[in-house]
Amino acid sequence: MSDNAESPTETQKDEPSTPQQPTEDSGMADDKKKIDVLLKAVGDTPIMKTKKWSVEKGRTVQSLSQFISRFLKMEANEQLFIYVNQSFSPSPDQEVGVLFECFGSDGKLVLHYCKSQAWG
């Protein structure tokens, strides 16, 4: 997984010369593995033209959420909600790879998203 990228302290302990870039066919190939994510709009939230995305396993829900927000050109007062199985919302720190393993079907992870004027 992207443990190395997300643990700067570990990187410092290692020799700086240790390449963090994975070699082509090393065991780190999994880091580059991507999963298919299908994004579905809920309600009157704008529908993305491209619904199917290939996302790195180590990417967080927050990162995906930011991406969708920018893609939809959302405003500062709007909040994006993402749902799994249309039954709960994953934590922003959750990795999409884990969600795929638990809730993926037919080789993809389906996420519903909804835009709202949250909290106010």
Binding site: G43, S87, P90, S91, W119, G120
Partner: protein
């Protein structure tokens, strides 16, 4: 409002197909009985995980879920005259409530403004999940203090909100998290405002309705609000915690019982109406003249979303 379905009882909604719009509107609300059931189911899973939730009962009737946890937050410390603080990992930031303008240069004039540094530190959180009769939703109350026992101030709590929600919070902080008196304990707590709960619950509840399944309202709700304020909700809650049982208003639905005129049934619900889950009384056999459908025992006649609020 004849024909209006009983709001707040999720399973009843499956029977009402005549007015889908109103059903959708009312499906976002949670009645107190279902709240308790959902909480108990969450609690069972929490025990199996040793996740720390407990049920606290107050005044013999109202209860709430409680959990303490350590998390991170951004706390302040005052800089000394040399601009140093005891914390090595300080950052110079200014909070939402301070203005970084020329006032700082005027040393003598505004003595109440102090330069502070904000740093990431360990924070002790205490979370309470209460039921709000006014909103007919759960509400998240919480306290936060440093390990030395100092309570965080509101600005520090705002600074500690998860980055995913920070932008929206900064846009309207006072609409998001404020301090209020805990309804049951009377102490000062931070509150995550519930007024928009229906907006983020709606997609889930609507989908569940269409697919003829139920969700555990509390688990779904907590999965959304928890991460905002540092409360981790392990994924297993979303897969392992069951939904509350159906209320016994299933198949044999006598027509007279379904549309109940809410305002004309001033039944004293505290006179033990059928508790939906524990006694499987078929609604048709219950000798209740005002309304024969198993009305969830909220403390007042089921208000439509606009109508008289209980309590």
């Amino acid at each position: 409002m004849a024909g209006r379905p009983t709001p707040g009882c999720l399973s009843d909604l499956e029977m009402e197909s005549e007015e889908p719009t109103e059903v959708e509107m009312s499906s976002c609300f949670l009645d107190e009985e279902t709240f308790c059931q959902c909480c108990q189911l969450l609690l069972q899973h929490s025990h199996s995980l040793c996740d720390g939730w407990s049920w606290e009962q107050v005044k013999g009737s109202e209860g709430y879920l409680r959990k303490t946890a350590l998390g991170t937050g951004r706390t302040r410390c005052i800089l000394d005259q040399q601009g140093n603080s005891s914390d090595q990992h300080q950052e110079r930031t200014f909070s939402l409530s301070f203005h970084n303008d020329e006032d700082d240069e005027d040393d003598g004039a505004v003595c109440c403004i102090q330069e502070e540094s904000s740093s990431s530190s360990v924070v002790q959180y205490e979370y309470h999940i209460l039921y709000s009769c006014s909103y007919q939703t759960p509400v998240l109350y919480f306290r936060a203090s440093t390990l030395e026992g100092r309570s965080l101030c509101l600005e520090e709590v705002w600074d500690s909100v998860h980055p995913n929600y920070r932008q929206r919070l900064q846009h309207r902080p006072w609409d998001t998290i404020t301090q209020q008196e805990h309804p049951l304990l009377g102490q000062s707590f931070f509150v995550l405002h519930p007024c928009r709960t229906e907006e983020f619950m709606m997609p889930v509840l609507k989908a569940a309705l269409e697919e003829h399944r139920q969700v555990n309202y509390i688990v779904t709700w907590l999965s959304v609000v928890g991460p905002v304020v540092g409360l981790d909700v392990p994924l297993s809650y979303c897969t392992q915690v069951p939904e509350p049982p159906h209320t016994p208003s299933s198949s044999p639905q006598p027509p007279s019982s379904s549309p109940q005129p809410p305002s004309s049934s001033p039944q004293p619900p505290s006179s033990s109406p059928q508790p939906p889950s524990s006694s499987p009384q078929p609604p048709s056999s219950s000798p209740q003249p005002p309304s024969s459908s198993p009305q969830p025992p909220s403390s007042s006649p089921q208000p439509p979303a606009l109508g008289t609020k209980p309590g």
